[in-house]
Structures are given as C-alpha cells and as structure tokens.
Amino acid sequence: MPDSAALAYPVRLPSQRSRIERRLLLVSSIIALALAAAGPLLLDTYSVSILIRSFLYGAIAVTVDILWGFTGILSFGQAAFFGIGAYALGLTVTQYDFAPPVVTAALIGGPLVAAAAAGLAAWLGFGPKVSPLYISVITLVLSVIFVQVIYSGGDFTGSSSGLSNFDTFDISIDGWFRIAGAFLVAVTAAGWIFVRSDFGRLLVAIRENEQRCRYCGIGTVRVKALLLIGSAVITALAGFAYAGYNDVIAPDLGTQLVIWVALGGRGTLIGPAVAAVLIDFISAWLSGSLPFIWQLIIGLVFIVVIVLLPQGLGPAVADLFRRGRTRSVAARLAPLPDADVAGSGAVPAIQVASVSRNYGSLHVLQDITFTAGAGELVSLVGPNGAGKTTLIRCLSDGQERSAGRVAIEGNPIGRLPPEACVRFGLGRKFQTPNVFDALTVAESLRIARSRRERLSVICTADEVRLPAAAMRVVQATGLSSQLGTTVKHLSHGAKQALELAMVLAMEPRVLLLDEPTAGLTKSERSLIGEVLVQLVRDHGLCILLIEHDLEFVREISSRIIVLHQGSIVMDGTVEEVTNSELVRTIYTGEPHAVAA
C-alpha cells in the first residue's frame, strides 16, 4: 500500500533523487579529475604551485563545512591538525632517513596524533551542559598550544624557522598538482555522499535540536566527536601531503578556513571548496601588491556576508541558476510487523523513590515516591507550577534530580544522560513540540527510528518502517500526506502529532507524555486517546501522561496522580480522584489546609 498513491502532489523517492545526484556527482568528479590532470599543461608554474596548496585547503574546508555548516560545530583547530600531519613527516624524515618504513610511520602517526588531539578536544568540549561556544574555545586553545610547542622545540622542531630541505617524495610539481586535485575531488565526493545520506540528515538534526536527538537515544556526543576526529584525520593527511610537496614546514600556518566556509556557503559543501581554492589562489597573487587592502576587503566581505547573507555567497550565486520549483523528496512509510513490545511485567516500568528537585532554596519537588507498572495509564494532574514537567524531566534525565532514585524497567538511571535513559525503553514527548524544523516529516521519522534501524552513511533508504501505533497516528492526523513537507511549515497541531509519532516510532515500553493533545482537534484527540489505550491494553506499555483536559484524563486513565506544590497529594483510581474533595479544593483554590 504505497502511500504515494494517496498523495496530492508529486513526490520523489529518496533513491530516485539520489540516483540523479550520484550520476551528476560522477560526471562532475570525472570532469574535475580531468581538469586536475590537464591543469599543469594549461597553467604556469607559479599558479600550479599555489593551487596545490589551495586544493589541500579546499579539502579541509569541506570537512570544516561538514562540522560547522551541517552539524553546527565551529572548530578553530584545523591549523593544529594540519600542522601535526605536516610535522609528522618533517620530523620523522629529518631525524631518520627517507625510507618507506619511516614515511609510512609518519603517514599513520600524523593522523593518529591529530585524531588523539581531536578526541581530547571532543572530550573537553562536548558535554551535556557545555555551551556550544566551548568547543570553539577548546580548538582555538589547541591551535595556540600547538604553535607554542613548535616554537619551544628548538632545533628539534625547527622552532620559528620551521623544518626545511628534508628528503621527500620524488614527485614532480605536476604530479603533486594531480595528487592534490584528486584528493580534493575525493574528499568532496565522499563528503557529498555522506551529507546526502540518511546519516547526513542526522547531522542537521543535531545542529537543529540536539536535545531531541538525545531523546531519540542517539549518542550525539559520540557522533560529534567522531566527526571532529574524522576532520582531524583528513586535515592531517592534507598537512602530510603539503609537507611532502613543499619540502618546508613552518608554524605560520594561518588559516582562514572559517572565513572561506562562511563566504562559500555554509552547508553546501561545494561552496566552501570553491571559495577556499579561489580565495587562497587570489590572495597569493595579490598579497604582494596589496597585502593590507586585500585582507581588509576579505574582512569586510566576511562581515557583510555574516550579517546580510548568512548562507554565504555560494548559494546566492547558485540561486541565479536554480530552475523553478523542485519536487520534494520523501521516503515511503511501511508498516512494521507487530512486534511484542511489552515488558515481562515482572519488573515495574517506573519506580520512583524519594525524588526531590531543588533550585537553591526553591523546592520544586519534594519526596516523590510511586511505582507504575506495565499496562497502566497514569495521568499526572495538578495546577500550574505543581512540578509535573519537572518530574518528567527527573524521570528521563539522570542528572536532573537533586535526590532520590529512579528506575526504568528495573534499570536505575543513576546520573545517566537522556540518551542512556531512553535506551532502557523510555520515550518522552515534550510540552511544546520538540521537533526538527529543518527536516522533512519523513526524515524526522527516520531519525526517530534510528536506534532500531541504523542510518546509512552512504545511502538514503526508501522506506521508513513504523510500528502500528506510530502508523496510526501519522495516517489519522494527515501527516502521511505531508511526508515531504519541511517540519517548519507544519501547523502546531501537526507538529504535536509528529512528535508523538516520533516517540512511538521508537517502540518504547515506557511513555512520558507532556500534554500530548494540546492543539489537536476533538477527533484527533479521541484518536490519540484510542491509540494510547490500545498501547496500554494490547501491548502492555506503561504510560505517564500530563494533561489539563480532565475529560480526556477521565476517559482513558487507569490511575491518576495529583501533584500539588511539589508533592503527591493523591494517588488513586479515576473515581477516587475525581470525587475527592481535596482535588476540587486544589483546583478551585479554596483555602483548605492540604494534608501532607
């Protein structure tokens, strides 16, 4: 039952688009390689020698774009990685001789050290509560330290004079041009395939909304670290090649990579590569005659671009070539065979013992204790400020609570981050729609499925397989006819539905829902209610639900917990709670004393 039949406008499958793109990529790569091969025959020696460096910088710019333009990681450390690769060759060949084992050691050692440095930077710079500025700080510090280490190395590192005149590869300048050109083409092509793959969309998702990714169970810190390490390795290889060609390395490796990427167009891959090559090339020609004015111009253009054209000059130029409206692309939905998602039932789904949460002297939650098992649909009610969302936060993020113990499906969450808690079978839907504005509906669903079905780093799959509950939500709320729509353009209600579908797509055993029906129509609400009841009854999920719509609560819940001023004041069946004096008082605000 392909959904495309029911769609109102033409949508292509990812594999169709990818086939066209790959073909174009192949053709342009071949043209580029041909240009690289023919270049030395057409250009003068000076240009050839400059372009070798420009090509290597272009390859690095591609990795910086993947880090920054796609994933939002602004790294200033490329100068250090480049230098590590270059000095690896220079130092080993200077100390020992230019023999195959030595060179191989440098070829492996340089990138290895760069990877280690990147790993250290990642460990320091990517953490749960760390500001995104911090990784930029760390990588900047890394570059400064690297330069100082080289300066203080005396004769060993050549200090400020650098190392020169060491034995190196016997390759002609034309040969190096072709190697550098091929390197650029290879890195750009590989990068292109990577960012167009499903995993590539994850990069954008992390940049947009890292928190949502973590709540989908994705180890974002690990992803970012791997990206940084990957960039470091490629950059070090470029440095190695540069040292091999140039026969001279010095610590004055000023890089303006960030500027080139910004000017070329963040997130376009080709733009930064072209900008890097062009600007580096032109700078070399102009630096003699107009050193300061050229730098001034670059600086001014950079500022203008950042302020007025944040996408960079590349896309602005490319827009002139864009022909009309492109058709959207979306994967198809396919149902998952009904897996039995239920827990064994022997272990309670949620166990909360003496949890409290304080902000300084403000006690938001005090001594919360309850247990919920499989097959229960527990509604959490209470007036505003009672601490309901805070409680949900404490259940899903091990670092939130100030005291107490929480266990999901028998696993204590300790101080684990959200992605680890989610892996115990937890799903959380946020109060305001917490989705990926820049991705399409289909892509968002795929990311939600990523824990169960790995994202390919090369391909884009044509199908997103959803469990029955998620499928129902998607079809009934009309999302199935908007698979290719960018989430930014969805209505508030549709975003709510999408987030719910994403959470359900994770096949959780425990669901934490924060006002799932806000913004939905009455029929949608009853649909959601049905879905939730079915999940609990047929699949044995445990659902903890925050809701203000008391009608809705009464219809579907099996149990109600009332929270007031940070404590549980009542925990019982629907009848008990709805008929309780106490609850009425709390909601109407009559000044009766609240029993502890």
Binding site: Y46, S152, P291
Partner: protein
C-alpha cells in the same frame, strides 16, 4: 547539485585567469629577484630594503648597467615566513627567471627558499644579519653573524665596564636562541658568568617575571636578543618603568626601533655593522642618494637595508670578474670580489661569509646612536667549514 554549475564556472575562471598572466619579460636586462617581507613581520623594514636596492640599481644603470645590461629589480612578497617564501622564490626563479636573488628575510623564509634556490641553481646573496651557520653552495652572506656582533658588546662590558655576571633574555625563536646561546658560550669562554638565560614567547608582551628575576639576581649586565619591533619596545619600557638601571646591551635592536622607543632607550648599547652616523664618504653619498631619489618618502637606512645595497654591487663585481652572467661562473667569483661601500670594504671570502667592521654604539637621549668603539674586520668564525671558501 545546483552548486556544481557555478563550481564549473569558477574552475573555468581560474584557468582563464592563469592563462592570461603576462608572459615573461625580454632578456635584455639582468634581473635581480628580491623576495622580501612586504607583509608580515618584516613589513616595517622591507620598504627600506627595497629603497636601498633601487638606489643601487639606479646608480649602476646610470653608469651603463652590468656588462651593458640594465638591472631590473623584481620584488615579490614572501610574507615574512616560510610558506610565502617558497611561493616568492618559486615565482622569481621559475617564472621570472631572475639571474640572482639578493635580499634580506627571516630565517624561516631563508630556510624555505634555499631548496628552491638549489633547484634553480641561482646565486643567493643574503643581506640580513642572522644566527649563523646556514650553509649552501648557492648562499653568500654579506651581513653579520653572532660571532661578529656579540664580541663587540661583551668585550666592552667585560673589559671597559668590568662586568662579570650577565643576565640573558630573549624571544623564544631561532634568532633569539641562536644569539644568546652563542653569547653564553662566549661569556663563559672569556671568564664571565651567566646567571640566567630567560626566554619569552615571540608575541608575549609581559616581561614581569623576567624583570623580577633580573632584579633578584643583581647581575652586572643585561644582554637581550628579542624579535624586532614590539618585544624590544615592551622590554625596554618595562625595564625602565621598573626602575632597573643595569648595563644593557641589545643584540636585536636597530637605530630605527631605538628611536621609536624614545627616551627609555637612552643608554642602551647596540652593535651594528651599519649606522647612519658612520663618517666615511661612501655613507654620505649613500644617504644623499637616497634623499635625492625618494625625498620625503625616504626610509631611514639601517643594518638590514644597507647590506642590500652592498649585495647588489658585490653581484656586479662578481659578474664582471667572471665575464659572464652564467650562474655557475658567477658563484665561483662571489666569494672573491670586493666592494667598498658605506660599511667599508666587504669581501664574502670566509666560508661564504664576510669579515665586517662592527660599531659599538650607545643610544643617546635624543634617539641618535653615538659610536663608542669601532672593531675593524671582525672575523665571522667557522660558519660553514664544509664549504670551500
């Protein structure tokens, strides 16, 4: 996908741009390549170097050139660093096909340029003072090395001022370390004692810990070798502000920077092979020539720019002695010819380096330098024992 088209256009643009680069000039001239730091650390001194070169070229051309051929200067920017030097040297030697390279630059740039020079088999006259021991069959040096400069200062301090303990401070880079290591050895070899040898990173501006140590150690004399410009200024200013008035010899400062430091520089001893106050007629003519040629744009000549003037004349002499512009023949003569200029008679016959007359001067309160002692024909020592002279 939409970005591949502009990329292709950009690639085509590059190719077109390069193809229209102007063709090589005619070879009725003799081309002297000058890769120099128009940008970067040396950009302050580069203009004076270029002026000295232009003066020499004009004087020689007015008298008929070198063996009938006029001198054409080709100046390229080496960014004061290794990377830029490779580009500049490559373009000068392989694009512009210069006959010789005569220039001053940082050690990083020089080291980077040497392999290119060797590949192109082009003579290279290096006109900057440096830390010594850079050797290549193609490299000749007409400026001083530590063996020549340090002796003047240390000897004066030890013999005339009775200094026995020395404190050495410098910037942490090749020249700084090279100079002070040599100084350390020289002092110890002559019976003095070095109480400390402190280095600060090249771009550091806070000398407080070094000064506090200096204060605590109470040496008889301070000898410094910092990177040009800023570190000299900051060290001198902070030294004076701290009220420290020790015998102060600065191996890394020139007349111009001394003037920029102002009254704080008064009393500092410097040792140079060229001072604007040298009294011989060649220096008067040199200064007058610069004044006439550049008028208000004239940059004060100094120990980094004047050797450029000497270098061009030395090349002329070598070509005339060889009777040809052939690089190999010229190289053979470069170590044998002499030129008498503002610095006296110079011959690069000691392992490709030149014995020089060194002037020990003291900076006066008005910024000028008073010559205290003159050391004639100081030997450069064993710079390149492996090279035949």
């Amino acid at each position: 996908m939409n970005h591949l088209i502009p990329a292709a256009i950009a690639a085509a643009a590059i190719a077109w741009f390069c193809a229209t680069v102007p063709a090589r000039a005619a070879d009725q001239t003799v081309k002297i390549g000058i890769p120099v730091g128009l940008s970067g650390a040396n950009s302050v001194v580069a203009p004076s170097v270029v002026q000295a070169a232009k003066l020499a070229a004009q004087e020689i051309n007015d008298k008929g050139g070198i063996m009938g051929r006029k001198i054409e200067l080709v100046v390229a920017d080496d960014g004061s660093g290794a990377d830029g030097a490779v580009k500049a040297f490559t373009s000068l030697i392989f694009e512009d096909h210069v006959n010789v390279i005569i220039t001053m630059e940082t050690s990083a740039a020089r080291n980077a340029g040497l392999p290119v020079v060797a590949r192109g088999k082009t003579p290279f006259i290096y006109t900057s003072y440096y830390e010594g021991r850079s050797c290549s069959p193609y490299l000749y040096v007409d400026a001083w090395v530590p063996d020549q400069q340090v002796a003047a200062v240390v000897d004066y301090f030890m013999k005339k001022k009775g200094a026995k303990t020395f404190f050495l401070a410098g910037s942490d880079y090749a020249f700084g370390r090279g100079m002070l290591e040599f100084t350390h050895k020289y002092i110890t070899a002559h019976g003095g004692k070095v109480v400390a040898e402190e280095y600060l990173p090249m771009d550091a501006s806070d000398w407080t810990p070094v000064l506090s140590k200096l204060r605590a150690d109470h040496p008889d004399a301070l000898i410094t070798s910092t990177a040009g410009g800023a570190p000299n200024v900051t060290l001198t200013k902070q030294l004076r502000a701290a009220g420290i008035n020790v015998l102060f010899g600065n191996l890394g400062v020139d007349e111009g920077t001394a003037k920029a430091i102002g009254p704080d520089a008064a009393g500092v001893y410097i040792s140079q092979s060229y001072l604007t106050t040298i009294e011989d007629p060649q220096n008067q003519a040199f200064k007058a020539g610069l004044q006439k040629m550049f008028a208000s744009d004239m940059k004060t000549p100094n120990d980094l720019s004047e050797p450029e003037y000497d270098g061009i004349y030395l090349y002329k002499a070598a070509v005339e002695k060889a009777g040809s512009f052939n690089e190999a023949k010229v190289l053979r003569e470069l170590g044998k010819v002499s030129f008498t200029g503002p610095r006296g008679t110079i011959t690069m016959d000691k392992q490709h380096h030149a014995p020089l007359t060194m002037y020990l001067g003291q900076v006066q309160p008005d910024g000028s330098v008073k010559v205290i002692q003159t050391f004639k024909s100081v030997d450069p020592g064993q710079q390149c024992p492996k090279l035949k002279s």
